[in-house]
């Protein structure tokens, strides 16, 4: 029999909330070795392995079947795995890690309130500058899909892997597509959300991999874990 492998976020608030969530259900996650070592185990479950991974890599690990179960944001799953239904069972929302993926523009653009305005402005911008309006984001797939649905055509995505809200201030972009929870960072960076600019409401999801090898995991382990988590069956449906 092989071990059941769980991928959990390796740092920050998301990790704390995840560990607390598992603890509430009687599964105590214990880090192996020092704080710096990115592996852990579940107390009392010898054949369960916990990998601490970047939240952004968990969707890929689930899709590849290298982990059986994982916790990460809904936004990251949709962004990284376009054809996710086939490979990932998003079993349930865990009730924390709420954040919205949104389109935001500079607050002083008082002529722009919705995506229709953004499209017009994008066209004018291209006419004036000779290149498309720049939108900073790390969510390339979700951004393209949303802009396409809304009929915004004349833009260029600028890759931004962090501090995206600062991109307009730094003159690297005119608008951004990013995650926000309270909107405070947006305001602090002189940005505002567009009225119909909500792309996706995200939260932490417990996910099961459809491509992982489930048969190798002992049925005793599967039953014990699903009992603790309060779900019928741990295997993906």
């Amino acid at each position: 029999m092989s071990a059941l492998t769980i991928g959990l976020p390796s740092k920050g608030r998301l990790q704390e909330d995840t560990i607390a969530w598992f603890a509430e259900r009687g599964l105590e996650i214990v880090r192996d070795g020092t704080e710096r070592e990115y592996s852990a185990s579940v107390k009392g479950f010898g054949d369960v392995t916990v990998q601490l991974l970047s939240a952004g890599e968990i969707p890929r690990e689930l899709a590849a079947g290298r982990i059986h179960m994982g916790v990460t944001g809904r936004d990251l799953i949709h962004e990284r795995i376009p054809n996710l239904e086939a490979v990932i069972d998003m079993r349930f929302a865990m009730g924390f890690g709420h954040a919205d993926l949104i389109v935001a523009v500079p607050a002083f653009w008082i002529d722009v309130v919705d995506m229709h305005d953004l499209d017009e402005v994008a066209h004018d911008f291209r006419e004036a500058h000779g290149y498309p309006l720049r939108i900073a984001t790390k969510y390339h797939n979700l951004a393209r899909q949303f802009l396409n649905e809304k009929g915004v055509a004349e833009y260029r995505l600028v890759d931004s892997q962090g501090a995206t809200e600062a991109a307009p201030k730094n003159l690297n972009a005119e608008a951004i597509i990013d995650i926000t929870s309270s909107g405070e960072t947006l305001r602090a960076n002189h940005l505002k959300m567009l009225e119909d600019g909500l792309i996706l409401a995200s939260e932490a999801m417990l996910c099961l991999s459809r491509s992982a090898e489930w048969d190798g995991v002992s049925s005793e382990t599967k039953t014990r874990i699903s009992d603790q988590l309060g779900i019928d069956r741990i295997e993906p449906t």
Binding site: A86, F108, D124, Y131, K169, H190
Partner: protein
């Protein structure tokens, strides 16, 4: 879907098809053009519409901190090469090689495939050039033993001519024209154009102050850009809405899909309604059908589809595609092309230059014959 290695008889058949096409296109007097596979992403992809731009394979250049892309088609690279020769030149080019496109998840479509084609620039006899390119591809298929393909033609200048004839302010017309290739957005804009503007009246002298108070200036858009647009929106409050019967006219025309001769009759019936005269359009279409007929293209297998070409952003006039007989939509088209004069200005020509071209997909032809 990734390509599989090819060898033996399959490879020999493809090699043969490609050399047959090379000879066929060269016989028409076209200059052979060899083009790079890899381009600088910014410069090239900005020239495409959103669809192809999103589907290009883009990757970082380890050398320069910029991004590179694999060519997603030939039209723009050929047109750029022509620009180097000078936009005022009359020229035709032939080319062949693979193109590279990301495909939507779940669809079993190849991410790389061969194209062999022809592009003509500067021909003043527009219909002759269009029919010339069409014939080249039609006969090219025939050279590969693919006879009597199913033909769909369209003409994007028709909806544009109707837009031009409708009573509406120029800014509305311009945004409708720009979004013609995105049917949902086009519909949304057409509906907006039929209702009175919701923009508020804005007092001119406080504007700068209001914009300033709204937040720090970030990004490259300026305060003047914002105030100018506010004033323009306020000015549009008095625009008369587009009359519903005029808006419906666009829909009626875009719905036409019929054997080419019947489509012509339908257009004649519509002409004159809602105060829009379509006779110039009808005359051009009739002439083109006549020329295709003379070229020996059986008119009974030619379908005219007024919406055809709405998913191919750079085309703005005659468009066509050829499919295997009896398989109109099961597989990708075997050949296709069209007119894209307007795009030449995006590529730097001071005025639109007559430009028309098209490609054959030899692998798809071989598959259809198998």
């Amino acid at each position: 879907m990734l390509a599989a290695p090819r060898s033996g008889a399959d490879q020999a058949a493809l090699d043969r098809a490609i050399s047959v096409l090379a000879e066929h296109f060269a016989d028409s007097g076209a200059t052979r053009l060899d083009l790079p596979h890899i381009y600088q992403a910014d410069g090239l992809l900005d020239l495409y519409g959103e669809d192809l731009r999103a589907r290009a394979f883009v990757y970082p250049d380890p050398d320069q901190g910029r991004e590179l892309c694999l060519r997603p088609d030939f039209t723009v690279p050929v047109a750029l090469a022509h620009a180097d020769q000078g936009w005022d030149q009359v020229a035709s080019y032939t080319y062949q090689g693979p193109v590279f496109r990301r495909q939507p998840p779940g669809l079993q479509r190849p991410v790389e495939y061969m194209q062999a084609g022809i592009e003509r620039f500067g021909d003043t006899d527009r219909i002759a050039a269009e029919v010339g390119v069409f014939k080249s591809l039609y006969r090219g298929l025939s050279e590969l033993d693919l006879d009597e393909p199913e033909v769909t033609i369209g003409d994007l200048s028709i909806p544009f001519a109707i837009l031009n004839a409708l009573d509406m302010p120029e800014h509305r017309r311009a945004s409708l024209r720009r979004h013609f290739w995105r049917p949902n957005r086009f519909r949304d804009l057409l509906e907006r154009a039929q209702t009175p503007s919701k923009a508020r009246k804005v007092p001119g002298d406080e504007l700068d102050q209001r914009v300033n108070e709204a937040g720090e200036i970030v990004g490259l858009r300026s305060i003047t850009d914002v105030t100018k647009r506010l004033i323009r929106l306020a000015g549009a409050r008095n625009d008369a809405p587009v009359r519903p019967e005029q808006a419906q006219l666009i829909d009626r025309v875009l719905q036409i899909r019929a054997p080419a001769r019947s489509a012509l009759i339908e257009l004649e019936k519509i002409s004159g309604t809602a105060g829009v005269d379509l006779s110039a359009i009808i005359e051009t279409l009739a002439k083109r059908l006549e020329a295709l007929d003379v070229a020996g293209i059986g008119m009974d297998r030619v379908v005219f589809d007024a919406s055809f070409g709405r998913n191919l952003e750079y085309y703005d006039g005659f468009v066509f595609e050829l499919r295997a007989p009896g398989d109109p939509h099961g597989h990708p088209p075997l050949a296709g092309g069209g007119r894209y004069d307007a795009m030449t200005t995006r590529l730097g020509s001071p005025a639109p230059v007559p430009a028309v071209g098209g490609i054959i997909r030899p692998e798809a032809v071989l598959e259809a014959l198998a």
